[in-house]
């Protein structure tokens, strides 16, 4: 037993991905949860409403709107956010929902790209995401990019030499600078963060974490960001979509 003890202690810290999944919602304060629960008080709905208006607004030289092809979003977009990221058939690479919406905009509508983190981009993503609210994340995990994403998640980086996993797998529930470390699930994006006083994408959140450990963030459209987003979705399989979530 004496020889086993250090091993047991080590196991209790090097936990691996969470088995008992907790949404960031479960770690938020009662006030924050109440804000998310009330669509009228959830600030994310300001973006959702903008996205809803945009859905049927023509853009680009073809005069097409999202609705021109996809019709009623409450029907056609139902369940979509729960399946992303997926492996894009054309490129055989992970494709995030944000990227897919962006591609639709530039390739199908031939309209000007929506700048990342702009109200317009976040609004559309939030409106599309809302159509899957309450549905369990169920992303196809049968591809090598999941393992690639996991490797990135578990790689120590930055001047402070920390991996995502060291906090969000091994120390979730403990406190970093007085704040509870969540398991780090992607089920609420785009989400309204009180810290930002704004809506933001998963990309923005990952960038914040990387800057926090004093690492060079992966570029927004990089294969690394897509692989990380994919791994996060697989890791959170079964958690319900909460878009637009409210988080501290």
């Amino acid at each position: 037993m004496k020889r086993l003890l250090p091993l047991l202690l080590l196991c209790s810290i090097a936990a691996g991905p969470p088995v008992d999944l907790r949404s960031g919602y479960d770690d938020a304060s009662a006030e924050t949860r109440a804000m998310q629960d009330d669509d009228g008080g959830n600030p994310g709905f300001l973006w959702v409403r903008e996205g809803e208006a945009q859905w049927s607004q023509p853009a680009g030289p073809l005069g097409k709107s999202c609705a021109s092809c996809h019709g009623d979003a409450t029907v056609s977009m139902r369940g979509v956010a729960a399946r992303y990221p997926l492996i894009d058939k054309a490129t055989n690479r992970p494709m995030t929902l944000d990227r897919r919406i962006g591609e639709c905009r530039t390739d199908r509508q031939q309209a000007e790209a929506l700048p990342p983190e702009s109200d317009a981009a976040l609004g559309l993503a939030a409106y599309v995401g809302l159509q899957s609210r309450g549905m369990p994340l169920n992303v196809d995990a049968d591809n090598p990019f999941v393992a690639a994403g996991r490797r990135l998640f578990e790689t120590r980086m930055g001047q402070l030499n920390l991996s995502c996993a060291q906090c969000h797998d091994d120390r979730a529930g403990m406190k970093l600078a007085g704040a509870v470390i969540p398991q780090g699930h992607p089920n609420g994006y785009p989400e309204y963060r009180l810290e930002w006083q704004a809506m933001g994408s998963l990309n923005r959140r990952l960038r914040n974490c990387m800057v926090g450990v004093r690492a060079e963030p992966f570029p927004p459209d990089s294969p690394e960001m897509a692989a990380l987003a994919l791994y996060l979705a697989v890791r959170a399989k079964g958690l319900k979509v909460e878009t637009p979530a409210v988080r501290p």
Binding site: T155, Q159, C167, M174
Partner: protein
């Protein structure tokens, strides 16, 4: 104010080989404990209190990922404290405060720079040894 002493990292290798004892003496005398305290309390600079608790203001903003700094000077020798700052246990989440190599994807503004300078590490160690158990 103590005299600014030369610390290990700044010495040429030749001097280092011949003068380890002298260096040890110099670095031991070099730390400014009150500056060390300020460095730890400055979370943007040192990030210590993101993980550690300790006898500092705003305990509700401190982390609990690592042992409390309270009583550190009673638990560990000065040499052991210095060791933890410079070459921590690789299995722990403690970063090296002196390392500029062996790191991955360090942000541009931090590249090639340690978290703290050798003098700042001396100051932090000088403060930590004063944290005695009650």
């Amino acid at each position: 104010m103590p005299v600014r002493a030369v610390s290990r990292g700044e010495l040429a290798p030749g001097i280092l080989r011949g003068g380890l004892a002298l260096v040890a003496l110099l670095t031991m005398a070099a730390g400014d404990a009150s500056n060390g305290r300020a460095i730890i309390a400055n979370r943007q600079l040192s990030a210590c209190l993101l993980c550690h608790t300790g006898p500092f203001p705003d305990p509700h903003l401190q982390g609990n990922l690592a042992p409390s700094l309270a009583g550190a000077g009673s638990r560990l020798t000065e040499a052991a404290l210095r060791q933890r700052l410079i070459a921590p246990d690789p299995d722990s989440i403690m970063p090296s405060y002196a390392a500029t190599a062996g790191l991955h994807r360090v942000g541009k503004q931090w590249a090639g720079k340690p978290v703290l300078t050798p003098q700042q590490i001396d100051d932090v160690v000088a403060f930590l040894v004063t944290l005695r158990a009650p």
